[in-house]
């Protein structure tokens, strides 16, 4: 389990998720990027400027 940096709630990562995958926090809806699977680490996803 990893904690959402925005709202502090736990975010469940599934076994078939990949590093780099963008997921949404079920509680606050913020977009999160998976940066590590073991240990589970996520950060707020930031879009690059085109």
């Amino acid at each position: 389990m990893a904690k959402c940096p925005e709202c502090g709630e736990f975010v469940k990562l599934l076994g078939d998720m990949e590093i780099g995958e963008i997921i949404e926090c079920d509680t606050c809806g913020v977009e999160l990027e998976i940066i590590s699977l073991d240990p589970e680490k996520i950060k707020i996803f930031e879009e690059e400027e085109k």
Binding site: D16, M17, E18, G20, I22, E47, E48, K50
Partner: protein
Amino acid sequence: MNDKIQKLNSIIKELKKSFTKKYGCVIFDISLKKLKQENQIMLSGNCLTAKQLELLKKAVKSEIEGADVHYDIRVLTSQSSLHHLKCWGRAEKFIVNVTSDFEGEKLSTQISPDDNYFKIILQKNFRSLVQLDDNTVGWLDDNNIYVFKKDLSETWDNLNIVRKGDVKTVNSIASLIDESFPYINQARYLHGGKSAVAIDCSALMQTIFRRAFGLILPRHSLDQMKLGIRVPKNDLQNADLVFARSNRNKIMHVGLAFFDEKRMIIHACLREKMVICESIDVFFKYYTFAGARRIVKEEK
């Protein structure tokens, strides 16, 4: 109370300044009124987008403590404002640029006479601020469009919009692939482009899904990434939307899985500056997987 009002006024002023910079217009007309009850304030008026209202509420919540703030603000691009606007338009020329800025420099998207009617929110100096049926808001030149001074909102009544959780059943996924063929090795990559000549990655997805099934996808890849259902990388199937970030600049990208005999992907490629169909294994040498979504499935 007075310092709260002063603070609220300065929040509104600052937000208005930043939105004016973004859209080149000032549809953020919020007035402030003290209500009869102690400590109650009413903010009313018009703003352009739901995001603007959200930012206003967020700023008020974080900066004004203990005040009871009420809102009566019309969001001009919301569904409920659809019948409020009596001016609609349609593209007159084959490719009409829609830009995010008033000056016409930052290309958001392009429209053609085949596209649906659009809402005209504001007209200024022979430019119109419009909202398209995929919710894109931007400016275009009045001499490229027909203007209808009547309510055409019924043309938006039955839009087949794809949403989160939706997987639409379609007759044949092959028609989606057929629609993409005329673009492969023909259309060049153009950020903001949406024509047979030049197109970007998310516009290509929008175009082929609309032509094949009449489905409306949002304009940006990040919004497309929220549609339908999540698909893990090892479960990709034909017609899934594949999202990935460029290894070079981290920009989000989208393509269509084309898994017929081989595992391929069709996408408007930044690297080749063209729409191409290439092996998905080659694709993942240049891009890092960021997610996949399924929005259609074939009728059994």
